[in-house]
């Protein structure tokens, strides 16, 4: 039992992998969410259908199934992925699908008069989106994006089942090496909670900064 510092080191290694997965997963989820969410609002039938199919598929099957499919089935059809790549891919695409609905509903929540003003000013669709609609919609998205990021953090624990040495995996290692169960799992729960709180704090700060000076305009 004298080796607690070693075990703490193991857990911190695991925490680093968890953070890495969360950051990379979010980095993939964010552009995907915007692409699919705006795709849902496209003028073109084919783009809307494609975006809808992507969203329904990834929201309809569970992250667990997607991860196993990415890890076990993709290599069979010629895409060899490391566990980390499979994890980032599955997490990013899954959370991206949820994020897409956030993007869509945020853009749709912007008042009609803003859309009409874009037309009146003769902006192209892209200009209207880029300079008028998205800057307003983004503020609406931030709190929900924060929740999505926390969901992603929690979902990273699943990668321990495809042998990635994340926080949950290391807890199992410590459990099997020390025979102690309560301490490793409680430690890991506290670390996850601390990470989730950090995300939530970061998002609140971001929201405050983005809404600075908008008090009179936003309801």
């Amino acid at each position: 039992m004298g080796d607690w510092s070693g075990y703490i080191g193991l857990m911190l290694d695991g925490a680093r992998v968890t953070v890495e997965l969360t950051v990379l997963g979010c980095a993939l989820a964010l552009p995907v969410a915007f692409a699919a969410g705006l795709g849902r609002l496209s003028r073109f039938w084919a783009v809307r259908a494609l975006a809808l199919a992507y969203i329904e598929f990834f929201r309809g099957t569970s992250i667990f199934v997607q991860l196993f499919w990415a890890y076990f089935v993709l290599p069979l059809i010629g895409f060899e992925l490391t566990p980390l790549q499979a994890g980032v891919l599955a997490l990013g695409l899954n959370v991206g699908a949820y994020g897409a609905e956030v993007v869509r509903s945020a853009v749709q929540s912007i008042g009609r008069e803003q859309h009409e003003a874009c037309v009146a000013l003769n902006l192209t669709r892209w200009q209207g989106l880029r300079h008028v609609l998205l800057p307003q919609a983004f503020v609406v998205m931030i709190p929900t994006f924060g929740n999505n990021a926390i969901e992603l953090l929690k979902a990273t624990s699943v990668v321990s089942l495809i042998s990635l040495t994340d926080l949950t995996f290391q807890a199992q290692v410590v459990r099997s090496q020390t025979g102690s169960t309560a301490i490793p799992f409680l430690t890991v729960l506290v670390i996850y909670f601390a990470l989730a709180s950090a995300i939530s704090f970061g998002m609140k700060t971001l929201e405050r900064r983005m809404t600075r000076g908008l008090d009179g305009i936003r309801h």
């Binding site: 598929f57 309809g60 997607q66 499919w69 089935v73 953090l153 909670f193």
Partner: protein, 218 residues
């Protein structure tokens, strides 16, 4: 690798057996989540500051940590304290308590949306607290929440594969065991995905129906 229909026919009964456990876990988990969620929501509103603070922290904590670790905790730690749970029981408790924290939020919103006048009328009629909740507040607050609650039931359904990590023999673990046994991953993994997608896609129109049915109460 070629798709093999004969293999699909061979493994389908095993997978459907697993699906039964998946559905069972979802139904039991949902029932538990609804009850515990309501308890969380009520305790959160307790006039006793200590009770409401502790409940708030507990809810935040459970919601901020992964279900998988919570399942491990129930499955590995509780036996040390002398509480032996079967895998399915541990799984249902894990799912139920985890989703109860989300449901508490739905209940809270529903209760807060009940007009003040209803509370005042209950007081004017000299109803006790229990009578007020039972006959006035909850019957009005619950119907509008049903679509949101159903949404979380579907979300819970999609999280049940995690139970395979604590050796519940549900759909995912059946698929993994036939895959490992035959060393063929394509069909079992794809079929699990297809089954989940099929049930989720059935659930989407059902949710819309619920939403339309209960919106009238508002």
């Amino acid at each position: 690798m070629e798709w093999d229909w004969a293999f699909v026919r061979e493994i389908m009964p095993t997978l459907l057996d697993g699906l039964k456990i998946t559905v069972l876990a979802t139904v039991l988990g949902s029932a538990l989540a609804a009850v515990v969620g309501l308890a969380f929501a009520l305790l959160r509103r307790s006039p006793n500051r200590l009770v409401s603070r502790i409940t708030a922290f507990l809810v935040e904590f459970i919601r901020g940590t992964p279900l998988l670790v919570q399942l491990y905790f129930l499955f590995y730690v509780l036996p040390g304290a002398g509480i032996l749970l079967s895998p399915l029981t541990a799984g249902v408790i894990g799912l139920g308590v985890h989703y109860a924290t989300y449901m508490a939020e739905v209940f809270r919103a529903g209760i807060d949306n009940t007009p003040r006048g209803q509370w005042e009328a209950a007081k004017a009629c000299n109803l006790t607290a229990v009578q007020t909740w039972q006959h006035i507040i909850l019957p009005q607050a619950i119907p509008p929440m049903i679509p949101a609650l159903a949404n979380y039931f579907v979300a819970m359904f999609k999280e049940t594969p995690l139970l395979s990590a604590i050796t519940v023999v549900e759909l995912m673990s059946q698929a993994r065991s036939v895959a490992n046994f035959n060393y063929r991953y394509l069909e079992p993994m794809t079929l699990v995905g297809v089954l989940f997608l099929a049930i989720s896609l059935i659930a989407v129109p059902a949710l819309h129906l619920l939403e339309r049915r209960f919106r009238r109460y508002r």
